[in-house]
Amino acid sequence: MSASRIAEAFANGPAFIPYLAAGDPDVESTKEYVRALVRGGADIVELGLPFSEPIAEGSTIQNAIVRSLSGGMTPESYFELVADLDIDVPVVCMTYYNLIYQFGDEEGPEPFVRRAAAVGIDGFVVPDLPAEESGPLREACDAHGLDLVFIVAPTTRGERLERIMEQVSGYVYVQARLGTTGARTDVSDQTDTSLGRLREWDVPKAVGFGISEREHAERIVGGGADGIIVGSALVNIVAEGTSAGSVTRAQNVAEGSSTETVAERLESKARELKEGALAGRENRPQPERP
């Protein structure tokens, strides 16, 4: 298999992978926000297709999903959104298995994957699909040349880890800590342990769950990660914009509140995190060659 667009995204140093929930709060905003993130330095974009029972999500992303679903987001409008995006970084679709499974008239995940490939999606992350159940989706991805990213949890070890690493492609999503998604103010020690455990595998390791600040990004990349995944910290910015009810700079200025638009704030947050990641790589102890 030739190197995928996703694999290439890790080629030039640490990858910054932002996540947003598609359709939060509406399709046009999502497009604007994604482009802002790309301007801010995103190397890959994870775009969530909202599912009504997001069991792996913390409250920040749960709320984003509620906003998106009540705005009318569906798999079909998701695909249209992606097709319209017009960005030059790869897009990873993050969603739950039932949406993949139900799509289209034929049984199984193939119709979903086919359609995803058609609109330019490069890979998937499916939080409720462990390696044990991923056979059909893996096949469909292979057939259409898409990557299937797997999450490795702090509790994943030994045989389980091997089984996952046999199946993963694109990158491995290193879950920084137990629990659900959500911005935190510290970096978990579990991250280093997990990265250590993964050292022997030659696939990019992107760390997510809880990263919200430049320092986190720096520490994690300094610790050996090939990329950082940031969701809730960005979704929070979208949420603030929504609750402020103001999305244009003119309005913000008129109301005397923050002078930046949501898109601008996303862009500068992205830049901050990307810089953190780059700084982390500088600090990284050079692997000793024997």
Binding site: I55, Q102, D128, L129, I151, L178, T180
Partner: protein, 415 residues
């Protein structure tokens, strides 16, 4: 450890959970094999003794004299309402909490809908000295306040879940989220034959004491097997518990009575099914760790379900039941809210047994279809109605139910 053959029932079941939970699920499966199936360390003996001394097993199989006369057939009640806590739920909760103790876990979490699984879990935790937190939808908290209070009395924390419509579905999701954080020292006691393997199998095994006893009892009392066994089905644990023993007995009809709610029609636009009839009307999908029959829209979004009884108010159903329905072994049927309420009043008056609103669904089906159920019928009385008094007062007041008692003595308001 788990292979396709034993994690599934036909096309249903499986383990669709976040990777963070998989090691715990594998650990659980191992413990299930060793302790439950293998009786290691005398686990099953310990469990059965506690079910007897703490839980009050065996529960009676009672010939219902008035119903037998009314329907001109032999109607037997399997009295799970007499189990400690007031429902079949303790069979499973006690089994899982005990298993968690054998596994060295320190903390128990559980979701609850009607509050019966929550109270059963809280009771089992108090009995076994385990910490306990229960997730419960806010709406259900309001519908089932006595049960909330009972959990608190048993020392459990009750965490209100405010997402969605605040019912069982949301509570399960929230408990899974807790588990994803706490998996190392915590066991999630799932309350029905749902969730990822090995839960559906294990919960069924803990509950199948219902059918085992019932079979022995009916053979002693009636010297025959029943023509039909009826049980209400939410997730389906009392259902599978009552049916499992009879599945190989081809002559025994097995009826899973679901909540038909106010209508079987769905509101696709609103994402709401005004019923919980996933076996009767649902389609295949993946929810809460398992492939099963679901109430979902065309895209695969899970619908809000509805039932007058919180314990049946769930968009999914156990994968084994879905499989047995596909196989034609279990007949999926349903009755609506009105019928269930009427049956609630009927059983209370005719037999002196006040059933849970969940259970009342099975009796409503009996009323409607007794002519087609044969001469000897067992109805599983999955629980008692004490928890439902408030709801019954309200719901009865909104309807014209001829047989309902006049509530003058309550002129001062509700309970």
């Amino acid at each position: 450890m788990s292979t396709d053959t034993n994690t599934k029932f036909g096309r249903y079941g499986g383990q669709y959970v976040p990777e963070a939970l998989m090691p715990a699920i594998e650990e659980l499966e191992e413990a299930y094999q060793r302790y439950v199936l293998g009786n290691e360390a005398g686990f099953m003996d310990d469990f059965r003794e506690r079910l007897r001394d703490f839980g009050g097993r065996p529960t009676p199989l009672q010939r219902a004299e008035q119903l037998s006369e009314r329907y001109d057939s032999e109607i037997y009640l399997k009295r799970e309402d007499l189990l400690h806590g007031g429902a079949h739920k303790l069979n499973n909760a006690l089994g899982q909490v005990l298993l968690a103790k054998y596994m060295g876990k320190e903390r128990i979490i559980a979701e609850t809908g009607a509050g019966q699984h929550g109270t059963a879990t809280a009771m089992a935790c108090a009995h076994l000295g385990m910490d306990c937190e229960i997730y419960m939808g806010e709406r259900d908290i309001n519908r089932q306040r006595p049960n909330v209070f009972r959990m608190r009395l048993n020392g459990a924390e009750v965490n209100p879940v405010t997402t969605g419509r605040g019912t069982l579905k949301e509570a399960i999701s929230e408990t899974m989220r807790d588990w994803a954080t706490s998996v190392e020292d915590t066991h999630y006691v799932i309350g029905s034959v749902v969730g990822p393997h090995p839960f559906p199998r294990m919960v069924r095994d803990f509950q199948s004491v219902i059918g085992e006893e019932a079979r022995e009892q009916i053979e002693e009392k009636a010297r025959r097997l029943p023509d039909s066994v009826l049980a209400c089905a939410g997730g389906g644990s009392n259902t599978m518990g009552a049916f499992h023993e009879f599945v190989p007995q081809e002559g025994v009809g097995l009826y899973a009575v679901e909540a038909g709610g106010s209508s079987l029609e769905v509101d696709e636009e609103g994402g709401v099914a005004p019923n919980s009839a996933s076996l009767s009307t649902g389609s295949e999908g993946v929810l809460h760790g398992a492939r099963t029959k679901l109430l979902q829209d065309r895209d695969g979004q899970i619908m809000e379900s509805h039932s007058v009884s919180s314990g049946l108010d769930y968009a999914g159903v156990g994968p084994e039941l879905a499989h047995l329905v596909d196989e034609g072994r279990v007949v999926p049927v349903n009755v609506d809210d009105d019928g269930a309420l009427e049956a609630f009043h009927r059983l209370s008056q005719l037999e002196g047994v006040i059933p849970a609103l969940e259970t009342a669904h099975a009796f409503a089906y009996l009323e409607n279809e007794h002519e087609n159920l044969g001469d000897c019928v067992i109805v599983n009385v999955s629980g008692r109605g004490d928890k439902d008094l408030e709801s019954v007062i309200e719901e009865t007041a909104e309807r014209e139910i001829d047989i309902a008692p006049d509530m003058d003595v309550f002129s001062g308001g509700g309970l």
